[in-house]
Amino acid sequence: MSAGAAPRTAPASPLLEVENVSCFYGDFQALFDVSIEVGEGEKVAIIGANGAGKSTLLASVAGLLRPVSGQVRFAGAAVGQLPAYRRVAAGIALVPEGRRIFPSLTVEENLRIGAHRRRSGPWGLREVYELFPALHDLAGRWGGTLSGGEQQMCAIGRALMGNPRLILLDELSLGLAPKVIKVIYETIGDIAAQGTTVVLVEQDISQALAAADRAYCLLEGRVSLHGATAELTRERVVEAYFGVR
C-alpha cells in the first residue's frame, strides 16, 4: 500500500499524503505503516470499528500526536513534526471527537477563536451563521450549556472560521439524534462546495459512504480496503471492517 500503488481514483497531486505512518500510545501501537492520500476538493471517508485507529490517524494529521515513523505531507510540505497550532496555520482543521466546545466561552467566542490564525477565504462569522442559523440565535449562550447537536454545529463552525484547506471531521454522528445527523451531513456538501477538502471519520458505514467520494477502511491499525465509494460492494466493506472472510 505504498504511495506508488495508489488507486487510479487518487488524484495526481494530493493535498494530504500520509506515508507509512506508525503511531504509539506508550507501548501500544495504534497505527501500522498507514498510507492514505487525499486530493484537493475530495471528500474522503475513513471507516472502521471502534479502536481501529481512525481517530489516531486524524490526530497524527492534525498534529496532536507525532508519528514514530513515516511522514505526513500537506500541500507538498512535510508537516509530521510540526505542532498542532502550526498545522492550523498551514490550513488543517480538526473537529474533534466529542466536539470539545470551550465551556467558558460563548458560542460566538467559540466561533471567533476558530479564527485565531485565520487564513483568507470564504468563511467568516456571517457565513457560519448562514450555514447554521441555529447558532445565530445561541450566540450569547455559554458553550457549556449547548445540546449535542448544537455543540457539533459550533465545533464545525469553529473549524471553518480559520478557512482551512482541509477539514477533518471525527465521529460526526456519535451520540446525535438522526434528525440532527441529517442536518449536519447536508452541510458537508456546502462546505465542500466552497472548495474545502473533507476527511470524515465514522463508525456509521452507510452514512460515511453516502457522503464521500472515496473511502479507506481501517482494521486494527492497518488499511484493509480503499477505493471509490461507488465501487465498494457492501460485502467487501463488511469483510474489511470486521476482518472476517
Binding site: P83, A84, Y85, V88, R100, F102, S104, L105, I113, G144
Partner: protein, 288 residues
C-alpha cells in the same frame, strides 16, 4: 468604634492579599501550575525596588516603571525556558517552583543579608483621612486598596473582553483543543506568567512600603495568597477580592483581640471556611 476602625484597616489590607491571590490563581487557572515561589517572587520585587531606590534615589512608586517590566520578562523567561519543560510530568512543576523558592530566598540572603528592610514613600505613609474621631484611613492604605481593585477590574476586562483573554480562557478549559484552533499554548503560558509576575511586582512594592520584609518573608505571603484564593473560591476574580478582604479583616480583628493573634485568626477563619464551604465563598462556574 475601635473595632470598626480595625475592620476598615483589614479591608484595605485585603486588597493587597487579593493581589497576591490573583497572580497565583491566574497561573493555576491557565496551566494548572501551583507556583510555590510566588511569595518569594513578590519579595524579590520588593528588593528590586529597594535596589533602584538606593541607587537612583527614586520614590518606590516610580520604581514600578522598571520593576513591573523586569518581573514580567522574568516571568515569561521562567515559564518558557524552565517551567514549560516540567508541565506534562506530574509532580515536577510543583517541585521546580519549590526549588525556585529556595533559590530565591538564598540568593536574596546572600546579596542583602537577613536584615529587615522597608521601602519609604515619604509623608504619605503616615498621613490619614479622619472619618470620625475614632476611624481614620491612611492615605497609603487607601491607595493600595484602590490600586488592587483597579488591577482586578483591569484583569477581569482583559480576561472577559480581549482576544488574549479569550485564548487564556480557552486554554484553561481545554489546552489540547486550544492547540487545535491555533493557539500556541507554550507561548501563552509564558504570557500568563508574565502577567502574574507583573501583579507580583505591584504587590511587592506596596507590601514593601506597608510592612517590613526580609529574604525569608516569601512563604508567609504565599500562604496569605493561597488562603485568599481558597476563601474566595477558585476561578472568580471578585471572589478573590472578597477572599482577600475576609482574610485581612480576620487578621485585623484577631490582632485587636491580642496583638499576636492576627495571623492565627486569619488561619482559623481560613480553616473554618474550608470545612464549611470547601469550594469557597464565591466559587466560579462548575467545571464542565
Amino acid at each position: 468604634m475601635v473595632w470598626i476602625n480595625q475592620i476598615v484597616q483589614g479591608i484595605m489590607l485585603g486588597g493587597l492579599y487579593a493581589l497576591f491571590a490573583t497572580g497565583l490563581s491566574l497561573v493555576f487557572g491557565v496551566m494548572r501550575l501551583v507556583n510555590l515561589a510566588h511569595g518569594d517572587l513578590i519579595v524579590l520585587a520588593s528588593f528590586l525596588s529597594l535596589v533602584i531606590v538606593d541607587n537612583l534615589a527614586w520614590n518606590p512608586f516610580t520604581t514600578l516603571v522598571l520593576v513591573i517590566p523586569m518581573m514580567a520578562v522574568l516571568g515569561f523567561a521562567l515559564q518558557y525556558l524552565l517551567l514549560n519543560h516540567t508541565l506534562d510530568s506530574g509532580l515536577a512543576p510543583i517541585l521546580a517552583t519549590f526549588g525556585l523558592s529556595v533559590i530565591i530566598q538564598n540568593a536574596l540572603l546572600e546579596q542583602f543579608s537577613a536584615d529587615q528592610r522597608r521601602l519609604h514613600v515619604g509623608s504619605i505613609e503616615t498621613q490619614s483621612m479622619r472619618i470620625t474621631s475614632e476611624i481614620s484611613i491612611g492615605w497609603f492604605s487607601l491607595i493600595m486598596f484602590l490600586v488592587a481593585v483597579l488591577l482586578l477590574v483591569g484583569l477581569q476586562l482583559l480576561i472577559r473582553r480581549t482576544r488574549l483573554g479569550r485564548s487564556l480562557r480557552a486554554t484553561s478549559d481545554d489546552q489540547r483543543t486550544a492547540q487545535l484552533v491555533g493557539i500556541d499554548n507554550r507561548t501563552l503560558y509564558g504570557v500568563a506568567m508574565a502577567i502574574s509576575l507583573a501583579t507580583a511586582a505591584i504587590a511587592g512594592v506596596f507590601l514593601g512600603v506597608y510592612t517590613n520584609f526580609d529574604p525569608s518573608s516569601g512563604p508567609a505571603r504565599l500562604i496569605f495568597g493561597f488562603e485568599a484564593v481558597i476563601i474566595g473560591g477558585l476561578g472568580s476574580l471578585w471572589g478573590t477580592l472578597a477572599g482577600g478582604i475576609v482574610l485581612g479583616v480576620s487578621q485585623a480583628i484577631g490582632a485587636q483581640i491580642s496583638i499576636g493573634w492576627g495571623e492565627l485568626t486569619g488561619n482559623l477563619v481560613f480553616l473554618a471556611i474550608l470545612l464549611v464551604r470547601p469550594r469557597g465563598l464565591f466559587p466560579g462556574p462548575e467545571p464542565a
